[in-house]
């Protein structure tokens, strides 16, 4: 009789554990295979439940100990033992408490002790957490206050901490919403900062537009985009990181559309409006684009995702921006490129020189698809055509597809996005440039990151394969003193100082004439040249390098050359490279000293030309009217203030170069706080 009680218990126990494991494994297996299939064939998205802990705990069933055969008891105890181990190991997957992970009981999110941001004057006080001694404070750090406060730019937009998203133009003001960390000079606690400008150059800071205060964005109010609806309404779609650390898309709109300052924003009560679809990880779904109108009258929004290592652009369709349908066809995907962040999708005219509204399509229009690659922190783009019927974007040149071809900028530049400025009919591009110095230095100086000067984007009609980026014309209003150098002859090995006065804020336009015949006559030169690996400006070749040296001291101990280098491949084709060399930009050892650059198309009959904007620790360089652009960060210790100089140079061995340079000193822009007490908000 006892057996009949024990054996069922035993059976049930072993059975249920096994069955529960079976179920567990099979449900995982089933859901995985469903997910992968769903991605390609998704027809609609339901608001699937946010991911929950899906691990089953094997039920523990109490057992009564009864005398049974010896063998059975051995088996039983071994089984019990192994099941216990299984139980312990299976316990998993709460949204983990970070304190456990760290194991030292510290709170997960520390509030970083805030230090004064020193506004436009740069560092206004030394941060000195570690009061070892009050004496010798001035000589403690290798980075002196003078060096650090010099780094702050004069005419670039920068709040204390800076990532960017959602730019738009409304009622006479350009609005810039940027990712901001109120607590530290590192990424974190992301909030929407807000600034406005009449001219894209002089900015007024406004209060935060959005803060992480809802469960669906409590862990970060991340990037988003604004869409201007036909009736004039503005909708903002943005990524929120939820309290469960899931990336979702939320809707927000201005509280008062007739407020030109757009001070207050309302978050749609039904947020989130989009959650990660089946097959997409909860942390691979972010940065919705500006919407465009489809011929069927519905709006479309694109979002970058990834599946394994394939970067993909998904497209959703909506009429009211609160409910969405995931389109069957993905817009585009490129294997091996990883997660696509900050996807940007916009038309350019192949015939006109003005920008186009995001919804434009048709003849004389190409579409740019751009993505920031998580993998290598670079912004890539490609030109192609968009078919609204199939929702497919096809690159003009698949070998230069998104993520494997052209970059918007070959330097320190990321998370850029464009918008259509309807007032001036321009497509404008904003980019974020982070620091390339150490975090300790950022903490000392009290800020990190700048915004590049907004760039106007047009299709390069001459090459047909590029876009052109050029600093907005408004930056020219900062030009003050002008110094011209005409036809300076630079023989091999030349170095010519340019007497321009204070050389820390400059706008330089330079053209270079070379003896093309000499290049044509050569069979090959510097085969396999590469800006990054070929040794920088001190590496001399037959036909390069030559160009400008900026942010350099008299002795050129510190220098930042920006130059052209012509190399000829074994096929006899000459390629022009455009490089910016930070390898000797500073004697400090804890800053990045890479050499950035790429080839730049130079058409027959064109002179080599470059434009360089120098603004303290940021240098933006444009070749051939903006075909190739490089943004650099430099942190000299000597070439600062009046010690900074600018030179022309020619380190080529085989050709002379004739240079003409136009240099403007640049006034500083005004960055202040908008006088809100004088502003009537209604």
């Amino acid at each position: 009789m006892r057996r009949y009680i024990i054996y069922p218990f035993l059976f049930l126990y072993k059975n249920s554990k096994f069955i529960s494991l079976l179920l567990q494994h099979s449900s995982n297996f089933l859901s995985t295979s469903t997910m992968v299939a769903d991605l390609e064939h998704a027809t609609s998205t339901s608001y699937s439940l946010l991911p929950d802990s899906d691990h089953h705990h094997p039920p523990s069933i109490s057992q009564r100990r009864r005398p049974i055969t010896l063998l059975s008891s051995i088996f039983l105890s071994m089984l019990l033992f192994s099941s216990l181990i299984a139980l312990i190991l299976n316990h998993n997957s709460q949204p983990h408490t970070v304190g456990d992970e760290i194991g030292d009981g510290a709170p997960a999110k520390e509030v970083f002790k805030p230090i004064s941001r020193g506004a436009s004057q740069g560092v206004s006080e030394k941060s000195n957490y570690f009061q070892l001694s009050s004496a010798d404070v001035d000589e403690i750090y290798p980075w002196t206050n003078a060096m650090l406060s010099w780094q702050r730019t004069g005419f670039h937009f920068q709040p204390p901490k800076n990532w960017m998203n959602g730019p738009l133009y409304h009622m006479g003001w350009y609005h810039f919403f940027y990712q901001y960390n109120p607590d530290a000079a590192v990424w974190g606690n992301i909030t929407w900062g807000h600034a406005i400008s009449k001219d894209l150059i002089n900015w007024h800071h406004l209060p935060f537009a959005m803060v992480p205060d809802q469960w669906y964005d409590i862990n970060g109010v991340w990037s988003g985009s604004a869409t201007l609806l036909l009736d004039g309404r503005i909708v903002m779609l943005y990524t929120g990181d939820t309290d469960q650390e899931v990336q979702v898309q939320n809707l927000a709109y201005p509280a008062n559309l007739s407020d030109p300052l757009l001070l207050d924003w309302v978050k749609y009560p039904g947020n989130p409006v989009l959650v990660p679809p089946p097959g997409i990880g909860s942390k691979d779904f972010r940065d919705p684009t500006t919407a465009w109108l489809n011929p069927n009258g519905k709006w479309r929004v694109a979002i970058g995702v990834k599946v394994n290592k394939t970067g993909i652009t998904l497209v959703y369709e909506t009429t009211d921006f609160t409910s969405y349908e995931l389109l069957d066809n993905v817009m585009h995907a490129v294997p091996g490129t990883g997660m696509w962040e900050c996807v940007d999708f916009f038309p350019v005219s192949t015939t006109e020189s003005n920008g186009l509204d995001t919804s434009v399509n048709g003849l004389g229009v190409k579409h740019v698809l751009k993505s920031s690659l998580d993998d290598n922190k670079h912004d890539y783009y490609a030109l192609g055509t968009y078919d609204p019927i199939s929702n497919k974007w096809t690159p003009d040149n698949p070998e230069l597809d998104v993520g494997i071809g052209l970059r918007l900028d070959y330097g320190k530049y990321y998370a850029s996005k464009s918008f259509y400025d309807q007032s001036s009919r321009r497509r404008l591009l904003w980019g974020w440039t982070g620091e390339t110095d150490s975090e300790a230095a950022d903490i000392l100086k009290g800020w990190a990151s700048v915004q590049t000067i907004p760039r106007e984007v047009v299709f390069d009609k001459k090459t047909g394969t590029n876009i052109l980026q050029w600093p907005v014309k408004e930056v020219e209003k900062l030009r003050s003193k002008n110094t011209k150098y005409q036809k300076v002859s630079l023989k091999p090995g030349s170095l010519v100082p340019l007497d321009v006065g204070l050389a820390t804020q400059l706008d330089i336009l330079a053209t270079f004439d070379i003896d093309k015949k000499a290049v044509e006559a050569a069979l090959e030169a510097d085969v396999g040249y590469n800006c990054t690996t070929s040794g920088g400006s001190s590496s001399r070749g037959a036909f390069g390098p030559f160009g400008l040296v900026v942010v350099a001291d008299d002795s050129l101990t510190e220098q930042t050359p920006v130059y052209f280098y012509i190399a000829k491949g074994v096929d006899g084709v000459a390629n022009t490279y455009f490089c910016a060399d930070q390898s000797r930009s500073s004697t400090a050892a804890d800053v990045t000293k890479l050499i950035y650059g790429s080839t730049v198309p130079v058409l027959h009959g064109e002179k080599l030309s470059m434009r360089v904007l120098v603004d303290h620790s940021i240098v933006e360089s444009f070749a051939q009217g903006g075909r190739t652009v490089i943004t650099s960060r430099v942190y000299p210790t000597m070439a600062i203030y009046s010690a900074a100089k600018v030179f022309l140079f020619n380190n080529a061995t085989g050709i002379s170069v004739t240079a003409s340079v136009n240099v403007w000193n640049m006034n500083s822009a005004e960055l202040d706080f908008f006088p809100l007490d004088q502003h009537a908000s209604t």
Partner: protein, 190 residues
Amino acid sequence: MTLPLGKANLNLKGYQFNMKFFSLLLIFLFLGLFEAPLMVMGDRKLIESTCKATPSYNLCLSTLLSNPKSLSGDVSDLGLIMVGATRIKATQAVQHIKSLYRSHPELRRPLNECAQMYLAVVKADVPSAIQALDGGQPKFAEDGMADTAVEAQACERSFSDGGHKSPVTEMNKGVENIANVARAIIRMLL
């Protein structure tokens, strides 16, 4: 009497009962026995393969295995454990520097610099990396760990720059190594 086992009807005849039971018992037992160690091996395999892709396999392995949560974690969890270990090492560095400050007054300048650098790690780099890993923005976590290695190297250099011999070479190397391991793990999430 039938048991709720679907088709496996069992009667009360002793011998038949025993044989069926016993063989079924054996099957389930073997499965039970094997599946527990398999579970252990499976997660350990993840740890081993993750560590193989880092610059310091042994350091990675010992650090992860010393934290019981590592056996049930995914790569992101392993990254978090490693970031936590980096933080511990950096915090210890700050303490060590403090103690040296009293005993080596001639080294106050570089020690001050080092303190600043390690405080940047503890106060900024690590919290940022944790928040970034939690939220699914691994590249910012990578930035944090990359900077940690930079700070450790800069600390070491601050002695030689002043013509001194560094009393904390091993300490700095320790931080640099563990930060590089953390960075390598984080890169797998990109």
